[in-house]
Symmetry: C2
Subunit: 201 residues, 2 copies
């Protein structure tokens, strides 16, 4: 096989998250082994999304429509707003079927050294949305659902300070032992969080 073809096909994948040159090359060979029908299926899927993806002007979720499907769904609870770092975080939350409120996507977390200062994130629109919800409903709750990392904590602290100026309940996801884990192997921070967040049964 012509190395330039492998090169060209590899380049498709080299920008994919977590894909290095070796993996890109494996993917290129995988493509070369696909039947015309399978390649056509991929082409159709790519054509389907091309030029159609936008950001919801309410919550900044990636979507084919504006407002997005979640914002447009009147069955969802507008007194519950879950703030996440990226659109990807919505998927696992939706899979729990536990959350029936709305989302707000910050498009990042605060990380000044990497240039993610608060003004780069969708924080101002969040405050605007929350104020509007508070005007329309009682007992609005904002759930901060960031990764338990330095950046996530910083963002949580920053948002909490801003949100406390509005009559709104601010919560965050619980910290504790993950399902199926072993107490013996839990790290100190996880265990200390599990103690702090302990619940009466």
């Amino acid at each position: 096989m012509n190395p330039t073809i492998i090169q060209k096909l590899s380049e498709i994948f080299e920008n994919f998250p977590g894909v290095g040159p070796k993996t890109a090359e494996r993917f290129a060979f995988f493509l070369l082994k696909q039947s015309p029908e399978e390649l056509q299926k991929m082409i159709n899927d790519l054509e389907e999304i091309k030029g159609k993806v936008k950001r919801c002007s309410n919550c900044f979720n990636i979507s084919f429509s504006d407002p997005c499907e979640i914002c447009a769904d009147t069955r969802r609870n507008p007194t519950l707003i879950c703030v996440v770092a990226s659109s990807q975080d919505i998927l696992p939350l939706e899979k729990t079927s536990e959350f029936k409120g709305l989302y707000h996507i910050l498009q990042g977390t605060i990380n000044a050294p990497d240039g993610f200062t608060p003004d780069k994130l969708n924080i101002r629109p969040l405050i605007g949305r929350v104020k509007k919800f508070v005007d329309q409903n009682n007992n609005v709750e904002v759930i901060l659902a960031f990764n338990p990392t330095i950046e996530g904590e910083t963002t949580s602290l920053f948002l909490t300070k801003l949100l406390k100026q509005i009559p709104v309940k601010v919560t965050r996801l619980a910290r504790g032992l993950p399902q199926g884990s072993d107490l013996q192997y839990a790290d100190e921070i996880t265990l200390s969080n599990a103690l702090k967040d302990r619940r009466e049964i």
Copy 2:
């Protein structure tokens, strides 16, 4: 974003080598964040290979032409045939610029429990080709270039037995210390191979 779209885009990648459902999902989101121009570029690349990839009827390399570019290249040495397990193995060998002979792709290695019995591999065509080369040239050499694994060794042994019936020189890739490695950390088999294959300097 509609979970069915994520699902559909993830499915593209779920069959890719070494890609699990989580990675496929990350790739799906990556696609959703691409500009129409970038998606069009991918579509063009896929269109370019669709229905054009065949197997060379000489060496079984994947190629756009039959015979493949390597078999058709008259500058290559027809007294040197390198036998590899898959088309992918050609790329690193070509990158060395050390090898100017022809290839033969077995499309697998002998692995009876997984159904890769010798009759499933391109062994009969290899013997035919080698015989033809021997008829046309003196001093034909067959290099067996398989991974240093059980399957690779088994295939090497099997082929050596067959090839020894033809007046042909059979060699295999050298075993020894990889470039940049540390003797202290070399495993016993590697070091024992490096001793066995030692060369006069």
